[in-house]
């Protein structure tokens, strides 16, 4: 690109580097930076030591409304929304910072990382496109991710009400039983 600022270029490379380090797929880099595909490929290989995975990104909103992913997606969106509202940030920088804070939450609370960088990015795009939105739970008032066309006035979040079909593993069963007991105690 003719007349392109060197500083802008450096910023783009830094962004792309951070995104790759956090595990973003090539499609994310192509959308969020103005770098050429060839440079992005080289950068990807240099950082990860392998070629990027091929194939399309997961496209459906379904994943984000299943129980455990929804909790993680909602936590990420709370952090993202907080950063966007308190600071003047470009969307992609806010996604990077929010994702780092999300990873930090998982490691300090010994949680498995459920939301990948690519999914987190996808989530923000779905919300921008109004395919998903954040809605306050009618019981606890915390904002959770839900489909835009789902009814909000009776919405109860996955923490207040754990669906009976959430997970099929032994661990998940034990977790569910404990939660039902807690819910009944209140």
């Amino acid at each position: 690109m003719a007349g392109k600022s060197v500083i802008d270029d450096a910023r783009e490379v830094r962004r792309a580097t951070e995104l790759v380090e956090l595990g973003a797929r090539l499609q994310v880099l192509e959308t969020e930076t103005k770098l050429s595909r060839e440079r992005l490929l080289r950068l990807y290989k240099e950082i990860r030591g392998e070629s990027p995975p091929k194939g399309l990104l997961p496209f459906s909103t379904d994943w984000f409304v299943t129980w455990m992913p929804n909790i993680h997606a909602s936590l990420f969106m709370s952090i993202y929304d907080c950063l966007i509202k308190t600071s003047e940030l470009d969307d992609v920088d806010a996604i990077i910072k929010a994702y780092r804070l999300y990873l930090e939450h998982c490691s300090t609370h010994e949680l498995e990382v459920v939301l990948s960088m690519t999914r987190a990015w996808r989530l923000v795009k779905f919300i921008d496109a109004a395919m998903l939105r954040r809605t306050p739970c009618t019981q606890c008032g915390t904002h959770f991710v839900m489909r835009t066309d789902d009814l909000a006035h009776q919405f109860v979040c996955g923490l207040c009400h754990v669906p009976s079909r959430a997970g099929k593993t032994k661990a998940a069963r034990a977790r569910r039983d404990a939660l039902v007991a807690e819910h009944a105690a209140h």
Binding site: S78, I79, C82, T142, R175
Partner: protein
């Protein structure tokens, strides 16, 4: 605790807090706002403090850091000791979300 000793402890806490806050703000402001729970306006004020000013503020008889929330729900969530892993996971997530949402609303 004698008054002089108390004042000395306050001074030390203030100094540690102010220096840490300033360092965080200079390193990564958006992240610092999130961690400290302050507005950009306050962050700029703290960022611009000279060492002399920090020493002067720290030497006050009042603490310069404040409890972050007066919300009973958040206190219950962060103080609860759950044996059950998934329940403690949920409390942690909910507390983090409530704090983020509160800060976003205040901005």
């Amino acid at each position: 605790m004698k008054t002089e000793q108390l004042l000395e402890e306050i001074r030390e806490a203030n100094l540690t807090y102010l220096l840490l806050a300033q360092q965080m703000i200079r390193q990564d402001k958006p992240q610092a706002l999130f961690r400290l729970g302050i507005t950009e306006h306050v962050a700029e004020l703290v960022d611009n403090l000279s060492t002399g000013q920090i020493l002067k503020i720290a030497g006050s008889n009042m603490l310069m850091c404040q409890f972050r929330f007066d919300d009973q729900i958040v206190w219950n969530l962060i103080t609860s000791h759950e044996e059950d892993r998934s329940r403690s996971m949920m409390n942690g997530v909910r507390a983090a979300m409530l704090m983020s949402d509160q800060l976003a609303e205040a901005a």
